[in-house]
């Protein structure tokens, strides 16, 4: 391990997971506090297995994760295993991989296990599903819980049979006595009672090399519900007597209401109009009536002039942060002497790279269904942070968190874009006024405009290099987008690395892999430039400056699978990029073809090698790698948010281009299974190599060096 990597452990991986500032401040009229007179409202989507006793673990903070097995796992009399976790399923298929972990240690069939996920009343507190923490943290936690449960079951059986527990083994949902051959099923042993045992301080887990269930490919556990349309996403949730809510959006970002007339809307039968501060919304018996009511509202908005995307990069460079928001804390790392390294260098090179704002555009827009029952609030919503949304709701409505319950049905993806609770707040605000449950489902245009974006970046890189290609000095400055993935993994004696928070024109927040994508794009493009400067092969050049064995292994594996040395067809180019982040090592090789006449750039092949320790679900991992390559391709080639004067100019799928079938290249993956290394997550780091690999391949094909993402939104502008 080089010194650079030791840094990683000292960093807070979630420091740059952003919760954008709260959207709403209500001056709630006290008279609106109410109690429901009509009781007996039927709740859909709540699991029958849910038990009040689970609440014991749900309200504890992160510092005190419940130690009792019962907070995490329950064995029913019928042998069904219910597992409780605050992590949520957003398409990364952790419902499946966590099920495998439990099945492995508890020795039960996969289909005997059901996970209750992201329900703030039933599951232990969890900060959120982000930062690729599910596999390293929750997978390990549930393995420990399942192992402890298994050991407790053995003790129970030994007591019941009055035999030495060493004679007993657990397998296939039963405890078996190796001498008498008698068996007892878990369910019969526990008889529906709770396993109140505490988790032991240490309990040896099954090593990855001996895994039988984990480590094997397993399809999505509830896949059938998805191919039949049975699964109910957040936007599919319903309650009897529910109203549909719509919110009046300001004409510009940061605008304030200067006049409002809601008289016509109020006249429509069944419509409830809410005006509270800057919030104006309606609730109606149907979405159609709600839209009609909203259209009758006359409002004028005041706002300040705002910059456009054309001025974006100059703005970021010239406007240091003044506030104290989540992105306002700078980062600086320095070793050796940069100045000395530069003074004695054979080569010095300074380059600037930029990345535009992009949108997550999850296919399911934000949705929430809120229901008040007296002073208790229940909200079903799509979020990666159910406990965070509970906190937002409690703060917004000035109520204790214990009176708020947030449930997260498996949702239509997030990619870091659903950390916040604005839709939950909107639905709850309307429901409070309407005295009925209200569902708010954002339109695609709302999702493109009122969610938040991946931060734009300006990145300056300079270095000092010897004639033989050894880098001796490294200076790297990221403006605005963040410090994730900012340390270089190359072995360089003298470094100065800084993240500079800036003011920024659009609401920005977390996006899968955070700033690691921008920082890797800049670093790995720049490495390619250096390699060409000293006329070295880009792979050889990297390896010359890289000691870390895990990273060397992925670069070499990707190059081998790709055929890095092979001859290229006319017009084709090869490029590579890779790196390390959140426990994942990645290298991607890209082949592109450039049509010099039309300027069209087509990525024809992506080969990604990946290593994140012991693989829990090989098919799940491959799915993540393939998906990450395609998602990254969009941001690399053509995705960019256009904006001017407080408005988004391309906020719909007909204007904002995302990867489609015709954009998808041949994708090959190499998965290195390191059973000797604890499993890490894979959903984020797997994106990082794609953009630089494509940029470097375009250079290889055309001689044109592109330093701004997206690379070819309008094709290659050949001079």
């Amino acid at each position: 391990m080089s010194t650079q990597f030791d840094l990683e452990s000292a960093w807070e991986p979630e420091r740059y997971e952003l919760a954008a500032a709260p959207t709403y401040h209500f001056d709630i009229d006290r008279r609106e506090f109410f109690r429901f007179l009509g009781a007996g409202v039927l709740i859909v989507g709540v699991l029958k297995e849910a038990r009040a006793l689970q609440e014991s673990g749900a309200n504890q903070g992160a510092a005190s994760l419940p130690k009792e097995i019962s907070a995490w796992l329950h064995i029913g009399e019928d042998g069904r295993i219910t597992v409780y976790t605050g992590k949520v399923e957003v398409g990364q298929n952790i419902r499946t991989s966590l099920t495998q972990a439990v099945a492995e240690e508890l020795h039960v069939p996969v289909d005997a296990i059901h996970l209750v996920m992201g329900d703030t009343k039933l599951t232990p507190y969890d900060r959120g599903t982000f930062g690729s923490r599910t596999t390293p943290d929750m997978n390990l936690q549930l393995r420990k819980v399942a192992a402890a449960a298994r050991d407790t079951l053995i003790v129970l059986a030994a007591d019941q049979w009055q035999v030495d527990r060493k004679r007993l083994t657990a397998a296939d949902g039963k405890i078996r006595d190796s001498e008498s051959k008698r068996t007892v099923e878990y369910g019969a042993l526990v008889k529906g009672k709770q396993l109140t045992e505490a988790l032991p301080a240490e309990d040896p887990l099954i090593p990855a090399a001996q895994w039988k269930v984990a480590g094997q490919p397993l399809p999505k556990v509830d896949g059938r519900d998805f191919v039949t349309g049975k699964h109910r996403y957040p936007s599919d949730q319903k309650l009897p007597d529910m109203l549909y809510g719509k919110v009046l959006r300001p004409s510009f970002f940061g605008a304030t209401l200067s006049s409002l007339n809601t008289q016509d809307a109020e006249k429509i039968p069944g419509v409830v109009v809410v005006h509270d501060g800057n919030f104006v919304g309606v609730a109606a018996p149907s979405a159609e009536i709600a839209s009609r009511a909203l259209a009758t509202i006359r409002a004028e908005w005041k706002s300040q002039p705002q910059i456009s995307n054309k001025e974006l990069f100059a703005y970021l460079k010239n406007n240091p942060a003044q506030g104290s928001g989540p992105l306002d804390s700078p980062f600086r790392y320095e070793i050796g002497s940069i100045d000395k390294a530069f003074a004695s260098a054979d080569h010095r090179l300074q380059q600037t790279y930029t990345t535009n704002y992009i949108a997550h555009a999850p296919l399911e827009p934000r949705a929430a269904l809120a229901q008040w029952s007296g002073d208790d609030l229940t909200v079903w919503t799509g979020t990666q942070r159910p406990f965070g949304v509970r906190e937002e709701l409690a703060q917004t409505f000035h109520m204790p968190e214990e009176r708020v319950r947030v449930l997260m049905p498996d949702m239509g993806s997030g990619y870091g874009g659903k950390h916040t609770g604005e839709t939950a707040i909107e639905a709850a605000r309307l429901a409070r006024a309407a005295k009925r449950p209200v569902k708010v489902m954002w339109t695609r245009e709302e999702e493109f405009t009122w969610a938040y974006f991946r931060p734009a970046a300006v990145i300056d890189v300079s270095s000092a290099m010897r004639q033989d290609g050894k880098i001796t000095g490294w200076e790297f400055h990221n403006y605005n987008s963040g410090a994730a993935g900012i340390p270089t993994f190359y072995d360089i004696e003298n470094q100065r690395i800084e993240f500079h928070p800036t003011r920024y024109p659009l609401r920005q927040g977390s996006y899968r892999a955070l700033a690691a994508t921008a920082n890797h794009f800049a670093r790995e493009s720049y490495m390619d430039e250096l390699a060409h400067l000293v006329k070295m092969d880009p792979l050889e050049f990297r390896l010359k400056n890289l000691k870390n064995e895990r990273l060397r292994a992925v670069f070499e594996a990707a190059a081998r699978k790709f055929g890095w040395e092979q001859a290229k067809t006319m017009g084709h180019g090869f490029g590579m990029g890779g790196g390390f982040e959140k426990g994942g090592n990645v290298a991607t090789c890209a082949e592109v073809v450039v049509d010099r006449k039309s300027g069209e750039v087509k990525v024809v092949r992506l080969v990604t090698a990946f290593e994140c320790g012991a693989i829990v679900n090989p098919d799940g991992l491959r799915n993540q790698l393939e998906g990450a390559n395609i998602m990254a391709l969009g941001g690399a080639l053509f995705e960019a948010i256009e904006f001017a004067n407080g408005q988004i100019l391309n906020g719909r799928f007909s204007d904002y281009r995302v990867p489609r079938f015709s954009d998808v290249p041949v994708i090959e993956t190499v998965m290195i299974d390191r059973k000797d290394i604890p499993s890490a997550g894979a959903g984020e780091s797997s994106l990082m190599g794609v953009a630089p690999a494509i940029a470097n391949a375009i250079f290889d094909a055309s001689g044109m060096r592109l330093r701004s993402l997206p690379l070819v939104a309008n094709g290659l502008q050949i001079a």
Binding site: G91, N93, K220, F226, T228, Y233, D236, P362, S413, F661
Partner: protein
């Protein structure tokens, strides 16, 4: 304002009371509680709302319900026969062709429409006909494999 009072969906008659200008997706999801068809864009750009009308794929979000009142509508909920999945549904499971799966019902309906019309579609034809369906998770390579697998299964079961 014309009102649609009956719709033929998945082989049965549904009573409703919908403005003929309302979008089919809205009627399916909100009136009839058939939520398998998804809203993704409202402008026919993402394919998440795809249903079959007389066997052919239609974007239900931009389809007037008045235009399909006399026709046979099939949604994802009506594709399986009892417990037996349609070969395209089964192929999506077999290929693990989903992540969040919000696009899945629209992908499946588009593929069924294509294979109904042309069972021996080539990989390129499949990709072309799926171009209007967005998967943000990036499972397109698996979806193509799934549709090819389904085509093969449907061809074999015919013979």
């Amino acid at each position: 304002m014309a009102t649609v009072r009956q719709l033929n969906i998945n082989g049965r008659v549904y009573d409703t009371e919908a403005d003929a200008d309302a979008s089919l997706l809205f009627v399916l999801r909100d009136h009839l509680d058939l939520t398998g068809s998804k809203y993704g864009c409202g402008e026919g750009q993402c394919g998440a709302c795809t249903v079959l009308v007389d066997g052919k794929s239609r974007r239900s979000c931009i389809t007037r319900v008045g235009d399909v009142a006399q026709k046979q509508i099939t949604t994802i909920e009506g594709l399986a026969q009892g417990d037996r999945l349609h070969p395209v549904q089964q192929a999506f499971l077999d290929e693990g062709a989903m992540q969040c799966a919000y696009c899945t019902s629209g992908m499946i309906m588009t593929a069924v429409s294509l294979l109904n019309a042309k069972r021996d579609s080539s990989a390129a034809e499949i990709a072309r006909s799926m171009e209007g369906n967005i998967c943000r998770c990036g499972t397109q390579p698996r979806i193509l494999l799934a549709v090819q697998r389904a085509a093969k299964a449907m061809n074999e079961s015919k013979q």
